[in-house]
Amino acid sequence: MTVKVEKIEGGIPHTTIMVAGLIASVVCIYLTYINVLTGTQLFSFFGGLGTVAALVWGSHTIKHLCSYGIGTGVPSAGMIAFGSGVIAMLFATKYGIAAPVVAVVLAAVIGLILGYVANNVLNMRIPVMIQSLVEMAIIGALVLMGYAAMMTGSFEFTSLTTGNVVILGLSLPSYQASFLGGALIATAFMLGAIAIQHPFNACLGPNWTQDRMLMLAAECGFLSMITAAVMSMPLIQMSAALVSLFVAIIGWFYTYSKYIELSQRDAAAWLDSKPIPEVEGQ
């Protein structure tokens, strides 16, 4: 179906959200590099903030793409974002400090190829398909890199593949106890893939409002960040993990209460233990 069935009226234009999301996400991921400069791991939480920025942008991209009537395909959009993003992200980590930029460029290329195949080979012919898949791949790569930076303190390949196992008080390097070796990347994949599709999937309908959906996107991002902070505990210093957890809980609590307020504003009625209202003609 190529007819645009839902319009986005008012609110912040998509281009603004895209540019802001991209810049905020890349800058936040780069801020985790302060860890290397200062020799601590306390700045790992910036990786989590980068994922929140990317997820907010991603939820609006899905809205943009799905306004062409791909109603049931909302969760699958999250899957393709991360499926294409994970390739770019893993490859880019080999490039040291240039990793986030390489990830963006590489993901854009992968997204372009996927978009071309979807539109021209599979003949979907959706006008925003190519642009959306490029954006989705970049978002997938950035979110995964953000989680990697948050859980390991760095976005470089060596730190993703080495962890520490404490045996009888001795700390030994181990591949098994690392972000990749322990397959925490699988959990990060699902955390991001559900968080990116949920805001639009939950808020779709005739009374969709942009601020409510974006607030939900931030809420999903911080909620995922809470669990990512818990999973980072064996990989980085406990103090750094607790800082991430603290930031995530504050962010989650604020966005969750805001989201409930916005839902209360938009809902037809807010009832407690009331029967089904009488509707005319029944």
Binding site: A183, P206, S263, I276
Partner: protein, 300 residues
């Protein structure tokens, strides 16, 4: 020989855990109207049928359970890497995963309902409070049992995949089993008890789901009660069989022909089930026949 006996014991235990997981998963998703029955719950207010059914569409069941189980497994893995006792680690992991599930459920209900304001569907706070907690309880059972069986596969049977990766694989399998087996009991049976049995759902009846109960108004706990009787156990048997047969063939036949034994047995199992399914389908057609057009007396 001893290792095979041990392996079969673990297989039986994992199968039993999977059966409990399947039953809990399907009841949880039915209370939340997740999966394909969701479309009718979502459609009902648009057709003028305001209802008191819980509508938590996080995603389809397979992706959603992929996340809950992978999350429970990931957090349990992290705690185990910090030298915490596995049972405690799995409980803590499942607890945190259930917290995430509960938050997703509330945001999904609020979001979907607020977006239907045009049709006058109100947000029922009592529904939100009572249904979310019940789905969280069922989800805890499903997540805990599935993460435990993943841990058994990894630690006792020596599967090379780390716990979170097994979690994502078995989580998606659990969601798929519950979605394919259990949902018809809710989506095709319970929602349309006011239609003639076997009549299908004509366009005119779309969205006209049952909204009133024997006494008062039906909510999703009634649906959970209904589907816990048949849909839940059916999903449990389905997922339990999947886990049991998968591990059984691996434990017994992996040594045969450098691993090819297990693959060949797997193909034979698929063929046996194909024959059984075909037999049931033919038997059902013969006994109940194809859908008949309404006769003259029925239409007059």
């Amino acid at each position: 020989m001893e290792s095979i006996v041990f392996g079969i014991g673990i297989t039986a235990l994992a199968g039993a855990l999977a059966t409990v997981a399947g039953a809990a998963e399907n009841t949880e998703s039915d209370i939340g109207s997740q999966g394909d029955p969701n479309s009718q719950v979502q459609l009902a207010p648009q057709m003028g049928y305001i209802h008191r059914i819980f509508n938590k569409a996080v995603a389809g069941e397979p992706p959603a359970y992929g996340l809950w189980i992978a999350l429970g497994a990931g957090i349990a893995w992290a705690f185990m890497a910090m030298q915490i006792n596995p049972i405690l680690a799995i409980v803590l992991g499942s607890g945190l995963a259930v917290f995430v599930q509960g938050v997703y459920a509330t945001t999904a209900y609020l979001g979907r309902t607020a977006s239907l304001a045009k049709f006058g569907q109100p947000v029922y706070v009592d529904i939100l409070k009572s249904m979310t907690t019940v789905t969280m309880a069922h989800a805890f059972v499903a997540i805990f049992t599935t993460v435990t069986l993943c841990h058994l596969i990894n630690a006792a049977l020596g599967h090379p995949f780390p716990l979170p990766l097994l979690g994502i694989v078995w989580g998606i399998a659990l969601g798929a089993a519950g979605s394919a087996t259990g949902n018809p009991f809710y989506g095709k049976e319970r929602q349309y008890q006011n239609q003639k049995f076997g009549a299908g759902v004509p366009i005119a009846a779309s969205g006209n789901i049952v909204r009133y109960a024997e006494a008062g108004e039906r909510n999703s706990l009634d649906n959970g009660w209904f589907s816990a009787k048949l849909g839940g156990p059916a999903s449990g048997v389905c997922f339990g069989l999947i886990v049991f047969l998968e591990l059984w063939r691996t434990v017994l036949f992996e040594q045969v022909g450098a691993g090819w034994g297990a693959i060949i047995i797997g193909i034979i199992i698929i063929l046996v089930f194909t024959v059984i399914d075909r037999y049931i389908e033919v038997w059902a057609r013969k006994n109940y026949g194809p859908y008949q057009k309404p006769t003259e007396e029925a239409s007059s």
